[in-house]
């Protein structure tokens, strides 16, 4: 077992920053904490690292109870959003610093730093000072310092947020690979659902101090257990509407209805919140698994490979994401195709009933 949180909570003053959290992260896995700012990701990471002690509950690492053990005694490496490097050390010294603290022999230090620098493409920059480097290079130096430590637990707090879009993409590709071979348990915090999907691994969604769901990233995306998890994990935001199940038909306002198929037939006749991803509501050609809905176009955004259209469907502001370029006029009534088999239904508590 990598790291386990048992009923961990954190109270600061009168506020609960983390409510009783139970989480088991597999050893050597790549885990993502997904949530908006202030949802508790950083606090949770600090609790895992030992920078903060939980108000209640226990933190277990590698089958040992480490609650209350100071962070210097734990083997943790952490990388922050702001590129944090020792400003008066060269890149070489920065990466070497944890090894120097551990009093390794010089030859060994040089070898390890050389390897890491090669991996992170920093070899030509080993003699430079951090403020002479670009943002991406500074962050790679910070990553190097975390990697060289070979710590069994690596925490990354939105490390790519301050970088260029393209650079972010490249580093995102590299990161899981970098840590794969070390066998370390990696925890990566982010507020971007796209990033979580691109990194893969397992994800825990956080909302206002609670862990709402944990599982394989793509599965959580497809099957969120609550409306809240669904909302945290969608960008563009998930489309929702109130629907009624009446016998064998689902009814959305304004005469939009569709038949209840096999997997939904077990649902009771009641009112539900429908959730459907924007890429399952498309423009263009009809599909055999979809029904046609009419909507009024509000705003349209074309990104070259995708058309993102904001429409009004019976008073609900919905977003449709379609591959390819689709011309239209604002204010037009347009036909959308909703894939009914992809609909998620949530009951009044927000829990998933059927998908």
């Amino acid at each position: 077992m990598g790291i386990e949180l048992k009923q961990v909570s954190k109270r600061v003053g009168a506020e609960m920053h983390i409510y009783e959290a139970d989480l088991v992260l597999e050893k050597g896995g790549f885990n993502i904490l997904l949530g908006t700012t202030l949802s508790g990701k950083t606090t949770l990471m600090r609790l895992m690292a030992g920078l903060e002690a939980p108000t209640s509950g226990e933190v277990w690492f590698d089958d040992k109870n480490v609650t209350g053990v100071r962070v210097q005694k734990r083997e943790v490496a952490m990388v922050y959003q702001a590129f944090i490097n020792y400003p008066s050390f060269t890149v070489f010294d920065n990466i070497a610093s944890p090894l120097r603290v551990a009093r390794l022999p010089d030859a060994e230090i040089r070898k390890r730093v050389g390897e890491i620098a090669e991996l992170l493409k920093l070899s030509p920059m080993l003699d430079r000072m951090p403020d002479e480097l670009s943002g991406g290079q500074q962050q790679r130096t910070a990553l190097g310092r975390a990697l060289v430590k070979n710590a069994p637990l690596v925490l990354l707090d939105e490390p790519l947020a301050n970088l260029d879009y393209k650079l972010r993409e490249e580093l995102r590709d590299e990161l899981p690979k970098l840590f794969e071979n070390t066998g370390a348990t990696v925890v990566y915090a982010t507020s971007e659902p796209q990033e979580a999907l691109m990194l893969g691994g397992h994800t825990a969604t956080l909302h206002q101090g609670r862990i709402t769901q944990y599982g394989v990233t793509a599965e959580i995306f497809r099957k969120p257990n609550t409306l809240i998890s669904a909302r945290v994990f969608s960008d563009p935001p998930m489309n929702t509407a109130i629907v009624d199940k009446q016998g064998d038909t689902f009814v959305l306002a304004d005469g939009i209805r569709w038949p209840v198929s096999g997997k939904y037939s077990a649902m009771a006749d009641s009112s539900y919140t429908l959730g459907i991803h924007p890429h399952h509501v498309t423009l263009g050609e009809a599909r055999e698994d979809s029904i046609a809905i009419n909507g009024l176009v509000q705003v349209a955004e074309i990104s070259g490979s995708e058309s993102i259209v904001h429409v009004d469907i019976a008073g609900n502001p919905w977003v449709s994401a379609t591959q390819g370029v689709h011309p239209f006029e604002v204010g037009d009534s347009t036909e959308l195709h909703m894939q009914v088999e992809r609909c998620l239904y949530f009951d009044e508590d927000g829990s998933l009933v059927a998908s």
Binding site: V12, R46, G50, L51, E52, A53, G68, R70, V71
Partner: protein
């Protein structure tokens, strides 16, 4: 964010606690002891209760020196704070002159306080002092050893010379922390220089200015060395500020009881005024 508790820290704290107790708490307790008793020497003490406190609070001498102190502190705050801000505003933010300016500003702060007093004493002497001689040469009859007004002005000028730099350095630090984008946005909004000062620079310097005002207030309210060396409290008692008066009573007249009582009242006044200042300035932050 709270840090993990560390019991070992107490080992570092205990020696300091002992030292502070020895140097500060015990003498303080001694003063409290004296303030409620009467002695004629030979370590014989008689309980007096609140008599000394009443006497001090009703004494016109105390009122006079208290008012003088308030006037002094008020005047120098009114001069040093705006002047300090103005100088900080005119200092360059980048370039080779920055270090030169900073060093020049720091210099007055490095001089021992009694030397400051002695310097200005000689400098302002009407007959042999450079400044004193020059002013008298201009036809103005200036003699700080005999004229109360001249003594006040000289004391204030000396303090402004000595301490404005502190306000300058603190304000400068505050100003440097303001990102360029604010100035650029103000340009685009067509804001006048005054609006930039009032709406951007001053609000952003609030934290730093609070520190500057508190520091100057406390230091000036307890001022002793410089005016004592400069004027000795004179002419007469026109520049006898609270601490000077206190020392006169305690050591000069050896009235330990009233002196002790006065010290305690002095202490509480400073504490109270600091608390009021701080609360007023930090009140906006809470909102």
């Amino acid at each position: 964010m709270s840090k993990t508790t560390n019991q070992k820290a107490w080992i570092f704290v205990i020696p300091v606690v002992v030292l502070v107790a020895f140097n500060a708490l015990i003498p303080l307790m001694t003063v409290v002891n004296y303030s409620v008793q009467e002695t004629f020497g030979n370590n014989v003490f008689f309980w007096e209760g609140v008599k000394w406190f009443e006497e001090v609070l009703n004494s016109s001498r105390f009122h006079a020196s208290f008012l003088r102190q308030l006037a002094f502190t008020g005047t120098i705050l009114l001069i040093e704070i705006p002047l300090g801000i103005a100088v900080a505003l005119s200092m360059p933010k980048k370039g080779p002159w920055v270090s030169v300016c900073l060093v020049m500003m720091a210099l007055p702060l490095l001089i021992p306080w009694n030397v400051v007093g002695a310097m200005w004493n000689i400098f302002a002497l009407p007959d042999i002092g450079l400044l004193g001689r020059m002013i008298n040469g201009l036809g103005i009859n200036y003699n700080f050893t005999q004229q109360p007004a001249a003594a006040w002005i000289t004391t204030i000028v000396m303090d402004v010379w000595h301490w404005t730099s502190l306000v300058v350095l603190l304000s400068y630090a505050g100003l440097c922390a303001i990102p360029d984008a604010y100035y650029q946005a103000a340009k685009i909004d067509g804001a006048s220089a005054w609006a930039v000062f009032w709406r951007i620079q001053l609000p952003k310097m609030k934290r730093v200015l609070t520190i500057a005002i508190l520091l100057r207030f406390m230091d000036s309210f307890m001022i002793y060395t410089e005016p004592f060396v400069l004027t000795g409290g004179g002419p007469g008692n026109t520049t006898t500020f609270l601490s000077i008066d206190l020392v006169k009573i305690a050591l000069g007249q050896f009235d330990l009881g009233p002196a002790a009582a006065m010290s305690l009242i002095y202490f509480f006044v400073v504490l109270l005024l600091c608390w009021v200042f701080y609360t007023l300035m930090m009140r906006d932050e809470e909102q």
